[in-house]
């Protein structure tokens, strides 16, 4: 029987119930009792035929009961024909399929993950027995949880135990590429990927717009129901020690309401698991709010804590806590490479910056000057920030060292000027710079006019300070000259001039950050050094590239972490121990620890020295906005190979389709009921 299969084959055990009427029949079958009777003359003469006919009726009754029970057992086993004629989901041809189940943390809300598992089970149970099916769960990484060639229904029964929601964010491209790799190993010509997900828009951000599935592979989307639920998340926390009293500090927490309803939220601050402070905020739909905790006691060499947003109706909890750590404040060592030194100190490129940074009252930073020629003698890892100020050209070896330095958490600030050779910069700094330098694109304007900083991302840590009233006005600074650059992505521009040119740009590489300032550090191209903006702006820039990479160690779930970077020195990995937030201890196998599977505070111990680092969920997963069904269908068609037909269906439609394909059980139940009604009718006309 082509494609005939059962959804719940365990119910076939019910067939044993068919033996019950047979046993009862054998036990209680009518053995005629012999009775001496006087009035036998009044009995009918032709009893044998009637008796025999009754026996036949009884056998028919027995048969009806047995058949009814067999049909009932089959009905509960949910039979269906997995072929085209009966509307089989998988089609008639055997094919290779990968079912991708989204296990990102956004699937935790409501019972979305359970729905996704149920949908996958439905797919597996209705699969063509000849198909090769693999099941994978995906978020930031993809993992094969079941790969079957024959017993897809067996896998369906155990699927619930194999799948688990992660704390990672969704990455559809990575998942589809993994599924594609699996499918390409299959000899089947018909290949299809089924993705069961809530299909958040954020999951598509990393999708390369030019990427397509290999020829012959299609993708089908099965969205789980997306209800409008409230979600409030802490998306970022910035911890800064007070300049004059390092045992106190300020904590800024960015809290966002990702839903379309108002959310009354309580923001709790915990330091070393002790509740320190509480703020209540009413968040409008979509609103982002920065909560400030001032004069927070930050005692001890290392401080750890978390900010927790508690909203009564919040259905997604992983993004409610944001963990942070802070090492004891030490002077931030800055290596400044002077590209235009001058004996006249006033004309020196670093004249203003050196005085701004080495303020004895603050004593927060320690700036050490050098020249490009002497740079090779410096150990970059001794500095937390390297600043290239109007450096003409850079040696290739230096660039390679800088790449390694930044990837491992170092901070790099590129400040430009008239000495910069844009061709060299473009050829060597491609992997470091957030923008491409336009050839001979010195933008020069009249000194009287100048341009001003017009657009700034006030949510960014560098500019957040200036969002508060009473701070320096960025608009007071005039820029007469800057190098015009083309940003690699619009998002990397943190500030731009009023003529549209980019002023400050950012690029994150590995654990480190690069900031590009397109004008000069001295007053040659702007009047900033003599304005109140100069000192706080460069403090913020230095603190941003330095503090977050070293003092405040924060990582995302699922991302690898460089352990030497955490501990601050090269210690053999075998001497390291990591204590997870759950309390379990693990021994890392390499310098890169990849098992950041849970958010919380991790403790890395090596040679009796402990360092803490925080791991948080990716805040982009907090935005639950999903692609519309039409967009999904369009995307499926766009990504799939042109020769594959795709049809996007949602979870409820899938259930409906599968239910329709299993109509056979309804008919079986109906037939069984008819049999039992017939049995009752015949039973009432049968003498025992």
């Amino acid at each position: 029987m082509p494609g005939f299969t059962l959804l719940n084959s365990l119910f076939l055990w019910g067939l044993t119930a068919a033996a019950v009427p047979v046993i009862i029949h054998l036990i209680k079958r009518n053995r005629a009792v012999k009775v001496n009777f006087a009035a036998i003359r009044f009995l009918q003469v032709e009893p044998d035929e009637r008796y025999k006919s009754q026996r036949v009726k009884q056998l028919i009754l027995l048969l009806m009961r047995v058949v009814a029970l067999i049909i009932l057992a089959f009905a509960f086993a949910r039979p269906f024909f997995a072929d085209k004629n009966t509307g089989a989901f998988w089609g008639e041809q055997s094919s290779a399929k990968v079912i991708l189940i989204d296990n990102s943390y956004s699937m935790q809300r409501s019972d979305n993950f359970q729905k996704a598992v149920a949908n996958a089970q439905d797919l597996l149970r209705t699969t063509n027995p000849r198909d090769r099916v693999a099941v994978m769960q995906f978020s930031g990484v993809s993992e094969v949880v079941g790969d079957v060639e024959t017993n897809a229904r067996g896998l369906a029964n155990t699927l619930g135990n194999r799948l688990q929601v992660s704390a990672r964010a969704t990455n559809f491209q990575q998942a589809m590429q993994s599924a594609e790799t699996v499918l390409l190993e299959s000899p089947n010509s018909e290949r299809m990927i089924y993705i069961i997900s809530d299909f958040q828009k954020s999951g598509w951000e990393s999708l390369n717009p030019y990427w397509r599935l290999t020829e012959g592979i299609g993708v089908n989307f099965i969205p789980v129901e997306n209800e409008n639920t409230i979600n409030v998340g802490v998306v970022d926390v910035l911890v800064t020690r007070d300049e004059r009293q390092s045992s106190r500090g300020t904590i800024l927490a960015r809290v966002q309401n990702f839903s379309e309803k108002k959310a009354k939220t309580a923001i709790h601050l915990f330091i070393k698991n002790k509740k320190m402070s509480l703020r209540n905020v009413n968040l409008e739909p979509g609103e982002e709010h920065t909560v400030k905790f001032s004069k927070v006691a930050l005692r001890g060499v290392q401080v750890s804590g978390y900010v927790s947003a508690v909203c009564e109706d919040d259905e997604l909890s992983p993004d409610n806590n944001f963990y942070f750590t802070l090492e004891n404040s030490q002077k931030v060592k800055i290596l400044a490479v002077n590209g235009e030194p001058n004996r006249d100190v006033v004309k020196d490129e670093l004249f203003y910056l050196e005085r701004a940074v080495n303020l004895p009252e603050i004593a927060k930073y320690s700036l050490e000057k050098t020249t490009p020629r002497k740079l090779k003698s410096y150990n970059f890892s001794d500095y937390r920030v390297i600043l290239l100020a109007n450096v003409k050209d850079i040696k290739r070896k230096t660039v390679e060292r800088l790449k390694f330095y930044v990837r491992n958490g170092g901070g790099l600030i590129l400040a430009l000027g008239d000495q910069v050779n844009v061709n060299i910069y473009n050829s060597l700094l491609e992997e470091l710079s957030p923008a491409v330098f336009n050839n001979r694109a010195f933008k020069k304007v009249q000194r009287e006019e100048g341009v001003i900083l017009a657009e700034m991302d006030y949510r960014h840590p560098v500019f957040r300070l200036f969002a508060e009233s009473g701070q320096s006005d960025p608009g007071s600074v005039r820029f007469y000259q800057y190098i015009h650059v083309t940003p690699s992505q619009p998002e990397v521009v943190l500030a731009s001039f009023d003529d549209g040119g980019a002023a400050i740009l950012e690029r994150k590489i590995g654990d480190g950050k690069v900031l590009l300032f397109t004008s000069s550090l001295d007053n040659e191209w702007n009047n900033m050094p003599v304005k109140s903006l100069y000192l706080p702006l460069f403090y913020q820039m230095i603190q941003y590239v330095a503090a977050e990479s070293k003092g405040q160690k924060s990582y995302l779930v699922g991302n690898p972490v460089s352990l030497p970077g955490i501990i601050g020195s090269q210690i053999p990995v075998e001497k390291m121990t990591i204590k997870l937030p759950s309390g379990d201890e693990v021994k890392p196998e390499s310098d890169f620890f990849e098992a950041l599977n849970e958010p919380g505070i991790y403790e890395l111990t090596a040679k009796n020295k402990s360092s803490y680092f925080a791991v948080n969920v990716d805040a982009k997963e907090s935005n639950l906005t999903a692609l519309s069904p039409n967009d999904l269908q369009a995307k499926a068609a766009e990504l799939s190979s042109p020769d594959v037909q795709v049809a996007s269906i949602n979870g409820s439609e899938l259930s409906g389709q599968i239910e329709n394909r299993q109509k056979l059980w309804r008919f079986a139940i109906l037939f069984a009921i008819l049999l039992l009604v017939g049995e009752t009718w015949l039973g009432n006309r049968t003498y025992r």
């Binding site: 009518n30 005629a32 009792v33 006087a38 009035a39 036998i40 009044f42 009893p47 009754q54 025992r688």
Partner: protein, 297 residues
């Protein structure tokens, strides 16, 4: 009364040993019950005193009255009967059938004994004839001491045997008993109604009064069988395999028609006809007898 009537229950009677004791238990319990019943006064009763005249039997002088009045008085009774009653008891094999504690024959025996004792107490003559397809035993009607004992003994020893053929013994009794009297037939009447009625007709033709007690087991009257049953004829070797629930309606129809034929036949002969259920007490049969006697004066 309830306690007294309890002894009329055939099941209890079957536990009492000795037919004479059974009969006495039934009749005395029944008579005791009659003191509270509308049938009071049908028995032989004292009527009046009459002064002794020559020729009177001195046995009838009431010596207590003489002691008080110093005069001889004769005690006179309302009626002196000389009725002779023959009880005909069917002892065929079919009478041996029982679905509960007692068989039709046992029930018939108790009834015969009780009726005989009652009749004897009324100073009437009682006789007994047992029969199946022929007369097995015949005790003529008498009213003397010791006669009842022989009837009781005879009733105690009877066993069901052979097939029923009622007409022959009925004709025989009609020919045998010359003196007009009362004939009581106790039988399950499992024979051809026409031939039986012809026998009864013969008895009536000879001037006898006739009471027919049609004794049937409750299972014969209600046919309560359910499961497939192989019925074996008690008076033959025939067997019948059948499903009773299927046959019940037809059986009941035939049984009722059979009873109806006897009822009509007996009615035409002006004979009393009563169907007795062996699970029911014996008082109904005794009432029937006394009603018959009162009607005949």
């Amino acid at each position: 009364m309830a306690n007294t009537l309890r002894f009329l229950d055939p099941k209890i009677l079957s536990k009492i040993s000795g037919m004479d004791l059974r009969a006495r238990t039934v009749v005395e319990g029944f008579i005791y019950g009659l003191h509270h019943s509308p049938y009071r006064g049908f028995s032989v009763e004292f009527a009046e005193y009459r002064e002794y005249t020559a020729g009177d039997d001195i046995r009838h002088i009431d010596w207590k009255v003489f002691a008080r009045s110093d005069r001889y008085y004769i005690k006179e009774f309302e009626e002196e009967t000389n009725l002779s009653c023959h009880i005909l008891l069917d002892t065929s094999a079919s009478m041996g059938y029982k679905s509960n504690d007692i068989s039709k024959l046992e029930y018939g025996s108790y009834l015969a004994a009780s009726l005989g004792y009652l009749i004897f107490q009324q100073r009437d003559g009682v006789g007994l004839m047992t029969f199946d397809n022929e007369v097995r035993q015949f005790i003529p009607a008498r009213n003397r001491r010791g006669h009842m004992l022989s009837i009781f003994r005879s009733l105690e020893n009877i066993e069901p045997d052979s097939s029923t053929e009622l007409s022959l013994p009925l004709h025989q009794i009609a020919e045998t008993v010359n003196r007009k009297g009362l004939i009581i037939v106790i039988s399950d009447l499992l024979d051809d109604p026409e031939t039986v009625i012809r026998g009864l007709q013969h008895i009536r033709f000879r001037g006898h009064d006739l009471i027919v007690f049609h004794v049937l087991d409750s299972a014969e009257l209600t046919f309560p069988f359910k499961n497939a049953t192989k019925f074996v004829d008690m008076e033959g070797s025939s067997e019948m395999l059948t499903i009773p629930t299927m046959m019940r309606d037809k059986y009941m129809e035939r049984m009722n028609a059979h009873i109806e034929k006897f009822k009509i036949g007996c009615g035409q002969l002006q004979a009393d006809y009563h169907v007795l259920d062996t699970s029911k007490p014996l008082d109904f049969a005794l009432f029937s007898y006394l009603t018959h006697r009162s009607r005949k004066g």
